[in-house]
Symmetry: C2
Subunit: 353 residues, 2 copies
Amino acid sequence: MAKTIFAVIMAGGSGTRFWPASRESLPKQFLKVEGGHSLLRGTWSRLEGLVDPENILVVCGQRHADLVRESIPELGENNLILEPVGRNTLPCLALAQIAVREIDPDAIQIVLPADHIISSRDAFQQSMGTAIHAAQSGGLVTLGIPATSPATGYGYIQTGEPIEGVGEGKIWTVRQFIEKPDMARAQELLASGEFFWNSGIFVWTSSAFEAALERHAPELWRGLLGCAEGGLEEFMEGLSPLSVDVGILEKEEDCKVVGAEFHWSDVGSWPALDDVLPDAGAGNRCSGEGKLIAVNASNNVVHGPDGHVTALIGVEGLVVVHTEGASLVCSKEHAQDVRAVVKQVREQAPDRA
Amino acid sequence: MAKTIFAVIMAGGSGTRFWPASRESLPKQFLKVEGGHSLLRGTWSRLEGLVDPENILVVCGQRHADLVRESIPELGENNLILEPVGRNTLPCLALAQIAVREIDPDAIQIVLPADHIISSRDAFQQSMGTAIHAAQSGGLVTLGIPATSPATGYGYIQTGEPIEGVGEGKIWTVRQFIEKPDMARAQELLASGEFFWNSGIFVWTSSAFEAALERHAPELWRGLLGCAEGGLEEFMEGLSPLSVDVGILEKEEDCKVVGAEFHWSDVGSWPALDDVLPDAGAGNRCSGEGKLIAVNASNNVVHGPDGHVTALIGVEGLVVVHTEGASLVCSKEHAQDVRAVVKQVREQAPDRA
């Protein structure tokens, strides 16, 4: 009998790379970049037809509960899991595991970050189908993105043996996970042809994940189970942040990787919008509901509030973001310096950080 | 006996070169660029100690009366002259002449645009003193700015004979006025060493100006006088726009030019703010009350609302303007294309033009 499919959307992130549009009060997953919809909403919509909405859980921090409800008004009352404090993805997914096991200890879980952009729902669901198949025979399955450049911002996954049978040619055992490499190492990994990027999207059965938690993070897991009667906030505050990649997957023997067949971006910074937004002419991209007027201007990324007019004249390769209270103009090559700016803003104008 | 000194501030302009900060509803003279004060306010303050505030008249369009009152709350009720319709500087100054002659037909008038930036009040008042002296012996006096580049955006004034006596070495007869030249001609004029730029600041006695109006623009002058009982709006609507330079000065035999000893800018477009705003580090200039954070960014001009944070990263030589509803990012070399953008904005988002 087919197992019930659950999805856990991780909406707890709070990055600064999309300042000033994304701030502490409005993390990236709530940014409206896809035709006026937030990234979180896009993630929810991508599951339509694959996962019953009743079986989709969203995990986020207390302060962002209202933003989640605004993005997904139809989210069931009990389907929002609030983290008293964020400690990266392992505690987040362990909390979700507690919720899912109570409903259906035999479920399949799709686990996915709220802030990715994936162009085709059909292709996404097809790859998910393959991953669900792979997970049903046990182990932890990760979605791998075919590496197309020596990116240093992603983790890498080396393929081992191909898995025969259904999904053949799309599923491999994992030989090893590699943390974000430097440029020289990334070039080697790319050249070998044996590596995927780690998407951070996972599929597993509840029982497989619970067994892995018992094996590799028993203190965390038992501690969380022990908070059923209260004390969760205190317990989580005492935890060090730990990702599920480092805390579980890298230690687990039985891991598989499914090669994703969809176009994916984790939209790590403003220039990444180049890959996911439509060309508004001359390579310019305009996200949200802003309006762009370009004269002798090309290859710029623009983000503004609804109806805001941005005029670009004689400029190229810029990121231009306008919000109430703060603006950013940045060459694409310097997009990583946004973090340094946010640090300065925190010191000099904390309400704008 | 010394004549009473009047000042006429012309605040009727409505340019588009400072879009989006300056719009139809907020022309350049009301822009706050000098330490939070509007250019109009700066012009008013520059007259302090030289002209009794009771004798300062401001001319503007009906729709901007409130903005003038806001900039100069102490302006007397009868000191604001409203033009029913703008027809350039000649009708504007003829209207002012009618107001001044009623109060004091023997007055000296200083006539000046509201939208200049002049760095030193002392130097300004010293040059005005020289010009007042020159005007007292009759004729029309214009303030000339020593030409330092082959600018094509200004009119030029060729000096004739030096005037002996008080102010010697600073006053000349005018040989000719030359309209905005092309670049080749501007280079010739500059090389000859005989030319000033025409500042648009004039000094004359009421009687000299009235005589010149009678001589060179009798229809306009008599028509305006005939509107004492009404019909001014209709009469002015029938006029073609005409500048006092073309309509009077170029035709008048008895003109003098006084070489200005102050640092002057007519702030014709965004990049001109380079010359008048303090360096905020690395050649960046920040006008208004906005806040600038610059990382690897140099020689940019930034304008934003009070308290607005603008972050620049890895960019050079840009004009960056953010207002509620509209933003501009423009390379300084393309600043003249702002007009083309305003045209597009008028078509596509008229409330933002």
